[in-house]
Assembly symmetry: D2
Homo-oligomer: 361 residues x 4
């Protein structure tokens, strides 16, 4: 349902921002897979934006505890449950917070759906914090995929109008590793510096910026996916739109294909030296008819600017039924895009592993 | 699975381009809904692009026969099956066609998935022709939605670089109706003329062009949708990527949000004269946290150029394992974008009706 | 949803008793599987009870037409749609029929659910006739399973208190074939004769009789199924209760296990001459913890007596809100049990094939 | 998937017998529902068999901690996660335990499915202990249902050949309450005493006994459920077979219907004094065509004898590939039937609530 996705590998996310704990239950991880907890921890750190001052504002431990599904450091055939305790939980009458819904947040729509019967403290279940258990599940999926020769990398493709270079037609694992070590995960460091500068300017003007994450998945077996509504694009898009703030998803040339002619957009096939079918361009993003070609899967996800900004904003008072203004106090993260990079990788890993497991690959 | 979507309203599409018939089975239409068959027929005609020379090349009757689920002109509580017989079916050894997969088509990936055991005559189940039964199901869904006050309209937002105007923040049914009557469904007729000229140029150079369809859904109840992976965006995107040639989907400001600051992108709320919460802008596309705000839902889908073009193209011979060239004979539709307009509407109608039925709305 | 089941192999059944046609759509049959249409036809004949006078009352052709999913006599990777046209369709105001619901039928509950907006002519979508498309799908599944070494047989285990012998611990394909050729599919012909006599007596007294079908599935790979809610029992039971008139399902010793001690009920394991783990008894019905042991899967399904009987019966008039009586005219089939035998096989075949395909077996 | 069930209300169970914790995640509880934690605790106690010496052998606290989905004592719109920590967790090389699989347990089938890569200490995820989180979820569902006027009661219908009385045609809440307070939950206390005596005898002979649980659900709205594969019977059966040791499920007259004639089995309808359609008998178990009649839903589930018995049993050594014997040490519960009574109620509550929520009831 709402907080679950997947078919043979199902991921269920639970928790509110200020509840006891957040976590995930994953059904369907192959049994006997070793989990490298240090590597998982480093992956989780990327989501916390730990390397710079640009993105995280409060220290969160975010260390997952594994309640089930793991024995002797390996997956043990049964549902995996991992939880992350909330250090920062608050009680008290939270329903009052919903009277003046913050623009760009789910406050208003949560009110429409559940009235006062909803725990929206700190964003509730809509909080970006819920991407932490997605990264626990996805980090393990990435490790399993790597043993199958499938590697996933992402970078900030654009922030506030500043564009990074694109992945080459054939990105490699080494590139993914290098990017993931950077303070800001980009290909072109100069673009990265400009992005940081844009973020800083936004922060100083109490504003925020949006951006785009580009992701590539290499080593995916050819022939994965199904026609029409169960293709690789359908499945990835459905999952990626589950990441807070995503407003667009495109594959290969994506919206740019609208500017191309067929003679430009078609990827011409050839046999490479290993006898594999390849193409010199990859406008299809590695997917034709919903099914993988064996070329890298490439996609881009658009993130809106963080809706939490510090200036005055117009809104409504749902109790008095009058128009009003609010000012959101506290320090805010001026962009979610950098922290979103490993989250996109995590969601892609879970979806691709799910689809491979469906084919027993 | 692959050719099915929906939860409480499920749509299953079957058929190959050159098989006996194509069709759909829909479970979950509300009982007792009158079907206006003339209106349905006019809706189907829009997919055939019947009004101009730009899009259709062969006459297809496309008249659906209803085998079940309809009695006395109304839905009758049980699964609806409608079929469209294929006038143009051919037998013979079709497997040979797959030796030299056409770039941009699913020929190669179908071969990877099923080897020779697949009926790819005329594109098989991947053919654009399969959008006809989608329109049967979606056309009925549209009629049911209209009785609930929900209206769906779409237009060609871009073809080959030529851009139409965008829907206003509050589009109205009359506008949808007007657009749907046009030879090319656009808001700005001059843009439409330029598009037709681009299409004609592509056709003359034996090439094809891609484009974008913008769709708006008005009258959707507020509070529809669920958090995370079962929001309105997740569900619509999953379904829309089921339309052949779609390579990108975005909601509201979409990818443009990457260029905006939070102060620009946030939609400020106010009470309108009827006491409804509205916003002056609609960068959210009517969806916050996956749940509807009551504002129009707006989305855009990118279509790649028709992969069938007439010039020589490089490809591989899967039998001889040699690189080769092909030339695709016959006349081709230089763009799918115009015909895709009602298909986008149909898929949106089915998805929104499904989500409304889940809430018994 | 309602008329669909399966995960990787999904079966969707459509049609009303007096509509244009009934049929099925199956997604997920492996590609390239030859269909023996004669064999399928013989399988369908068993459902029609064609060999004796005991069960069928009107001649139905029941010949399926394949609209999609089949090419050159083989499954072709895409959704298979087969239809059976209704020779005996009637129009006219059918809603009146629902005023006095027939006891034991779905007339009353259909009225509760859909009011007058439902096509209940001849039982509508609840008619036993809808088991014909189940047999089309299941008959093909059986053929595919046989190539994998999996064989399914069923017999009338009980009718009106007369009991047939039970399958031995290790039933064989030859036994299944032999039973399927009989006028009444039983192991012990004398029991069969007594059953026929009971049926005849019921018929003469304008009454009907219930019974039990026992089914065995041999050759199923060990290790099939999943814990808790997705075990082989869960899946088979969910599907078998979809056959009209089924009121109970049990596996292995089933309800009899309530009378046994653990020391009697536990099946002791041993290695057979081929090194396979086997047990001398099979009280588990080949399933432990929801997962197959490699022993035959055995199950029994209870069928209620045909609710259509000829005497006067008390019922209500839903229009006048008064208690009343009805007499159901026409000749009725005094038992569904004999015709249900291949239907049980069909449903088991589809479910087991689905679960095997999920494991790529 | 495997450890999940439900559609609009989904229940996911996780945990191994000797892992860190067991628990559940429930998506879809209505928001704002107060949870009576004392009442829930008393319900949980019934599963522990706390009132007598007949069933529990070790003290378990089984107190659930709520990590999410609850705020200020109410459901808060988001996924509910509850965990029960395992006091009795053991580490060490557990894989050795699987060499000689215990007859009647899932040891063998787990080995077939996952080889050594499975945590089967104490039965792993197959342990009866996993019914505790089912009762947490189901206990809350029961409380919500009671506010909707739906009440669920169950009793031990049979143990080791000793039969309790059956529920009357119209059981009442007071009866359910009374039974639930008893040392052994039966209608006829004398039958209860005989059952206890049978259990004691089995215990003394180091053996175990099976039995049957009868469950009734009153107050269910008429018209609930869907045709064919998504009826009330299909859904309940699928879920009930998820309770460990269940080998049969029947509704209404169930297998007994095989002995009845149609004239006996059909339930004659009449209007009761409140103008509701009722029937004097309830052989249908409140379900016709998969849809509720408004009469009580009645069902029976057969439980096999506890497979853990103390004598020597034949089995195989999967390592040496030789036939061998095992003796299972420790004290064992001679029957699961008494403890299963609230578990059956819990599963029924979750399923019925799910189906009601699907209809927004």
């Amino acid at each position: 349902m709402s907080s679950e996705f997947g078919k043979k590998l199902t991921v269920s996310i639970f928790g509110q921002s200020h509840g006891e704990a957040i976590g995930c239950v994953v059904n369907g991880f192959p049994a006997g897979e070793e989990i490298d907890f240090d590597k998982l921890s480093r992956f989780m750190d990327r989501r916390r934006g730990g390397k710079g001052a640009h993105s995280t504002l409060r220290a969160e431990a975010d260390k997952p505890e594994f309640l089930s599904g793991v024995a002797e450091g390996k997956t043990c055939a049964f549902p995996l449950c991992a939880i992350i305790k909330n250090a920062d939980k608050r009680s008290g009458d939270y329903s009052a917070l919903q009277n003046t819904p913050r623009p760009g947040h789910a406050d208003l729509t949560a009110y429409f759906k559940w009235g006062r019967n909803v725990d929206m403290r700190g964003g509730g279940h809509f909080s970006g914090r819920l991407t932490a258990p997605i990264c626990v599940a996805g980090g393990i999926a990435k490790q399993i995929l790597e043993r199958k020769g499938v590697f996933i990398g992402a970078h900030v493709s654009q922030i506030a109008g500043v564009k990074d270079a694109s992945f080459p037609v054939f990105p490699e694992k080494a590139m993914f590793d290098e990017i993931s070590e950077k303070k800001i995960p980009v290909i072109d460091d100069q673009a990265g510096d400009e992005m940081l500068s844009e973020i800083e300017q936004a922060r100083l003007s109490l504003d925020s910026v949006g951006g785009i994450v580009e992701c590539a998945i290499i080593g995916v077996p050819e022939g994965l996916g199904n026609p029409m509504f169960d293709g690789v694009e359908n499945r990835l898009a459905q999952a990626i739109f589950g990441i807070p703030a995503v407003k667009g998803v495109e594959f290969g040339a994506g919206f740019e294909a609208a500017n191309l002619r067929g003679s430009q957009n078609n990827d011409a096939f050839f046999f490479d030296e290993k006898g594999r079918v390849r193409s010199e361009t990859n406008h299809s993003g590695g997917i034709l008819g919903g099914i993988t070609t064996g070329m890298p899967i490439t996609l881009r996800a658009a993130f809106k600017p963080t809706p939490s900004i510090s200036g005055k904003q117009k809104t409504v008072n749902l109790e008095t039924k009058e128009n009003t203004e609010i000012e959101i106090s506290g320090r805010h993260d001026p962009t979610v895009v950098i922290r979103a990079v490993p989250v996109v990788e995590a969601v892609c890993a879970l979806t691709v592993l799910d689809m491979m497991l469906e084919e027993n690959q």
